[in-house]
Subunit: 215 residues, 2 copies
Amino acid sequence: MTEHDLGVLSAAAVIVRKLPRQRFIDEGAEAIHFFTMSEGTARIFKTLADGRQQLVSFASRGDFLGLAVASRYAYSVEAIDAVSYCRFSRPDLRALLRDFPDMEKRLLEITCHELILAQEQMLLLGRKSARERVASFLILRISRSAARGLEPTHGIPVSLPMTRSDIADYLGLRIETVSRTLSSMKQDGLIRSDASAHGVLIANLAALDACAAGA
Amino acid sequence: MTEHDLGVLSAAAVIVRKLPRQRFIDEGAEAIHFFTMSEGTARIFKTLADGRQQLVSFASRGDFLGLAVASRYAYSVEAIDAVSYCRFSRPDLRALLRDFPDMEKRLLEITCHELILAQEQMLLLGRKSARERVASFLILRISRSAARGLEPTHGIPVSLPMTRSDIADYLGLRIETVSRTLSSMKQDGLIRSDASAHGVLIANLAALDACAAGA
DNA sequence: CGGTAACTTGAGCCGCTTCAATCCGCGTGG
DNA sequence: CCACGCGGATTGAAGCGGCTCAAGTTACCG
């Protein structure tokens, strides 16, 4: 979603702020609203009866939430850090799509792109080993991390603002496995520690890439 | 996709037939065409370098193939049984969308629905046990199997036209695990054998449902 | 500094995979 | 009509990758 679209949308929408851990979409609830993220990061996830969770994706600025063909939300969404978003009703969305026909095309493009990402994630969840999953995740995160003044001597910086628990729920692993895998990758010189646990430096991108691809 | 849409599309398209095992979309190839399935069943899948496969979905009559935001196909597609489909070029699709504006809305709806299915599958692949996966799969197949003259005394018939290998690749398991799980479900009275390996009868839907939901 | 939540590390276990041996169904040809 | 062959399915035994349970360690915040 472009900055221009966001502008148009926010004019018709209510702006809402949420603190970390607050939930603002509930899987199975009546789908009344649509949302576009304008600040922060949120976790989109599904839950099984006994509490097992699968994180379907991370949402950040520009992402579209509240997707539902039937009248109920297909997933829950919680703020990871401080989040703000635009909220608008289904009738308002319909009006917007009428007034800005290009937006429908864009919406289709976005949804197709999400579907492709979802399929890539199915490959990861169904067929990749723990190490391959973590490698894939780190590579995915490169684009999300501002590469300001990159210094190849130390490695490509990757920020991991979410907890290990979020990463584990995203990769279909347990937190211990994520932690162990990161340690083992440090051992093998693939990555290096950044300050704190919420960031790493990629020391050997080629090797990490090969690992992510399943080689 | 409705029968009416299929009619409109087939008027502008080339109709092609494929025999079992023939591939007609190649992951990574230039995405020149779009496709709509008109007969048979196909496997949509992604592949890793060493041959591991993840089946992303089964395609049958009315399903839309060739999705690609970038210019390359995101997955491969192969015929499972005898398949026929309509093929048309991207410019033709654009013309169709111009001439039938409602089709874009429908395309968006279809894609949203696929995305929701994909997310459900992520939950399955990331968090469900083998038994829960097979239970989920059988329940999913109920709707695909014509429930002609259902006889609750013998169980709800479910047809499994694909091989165990396809099921395994869809569920992120090995064929041996699928086979063992089905046997164990028979043992436990959840399902019964139909004639041949390509069909079962669901004997205890409630229990199977509970299992699929992770209870 | 104290307390808590997040992260790391270790040891043992379990579910799924791997490897291997049948078994079954079906089409083919003698 | 039956023997044969072949691909798919089933079953068995052993191994291993990721999970579970548990004990530290570190980072963060009052």
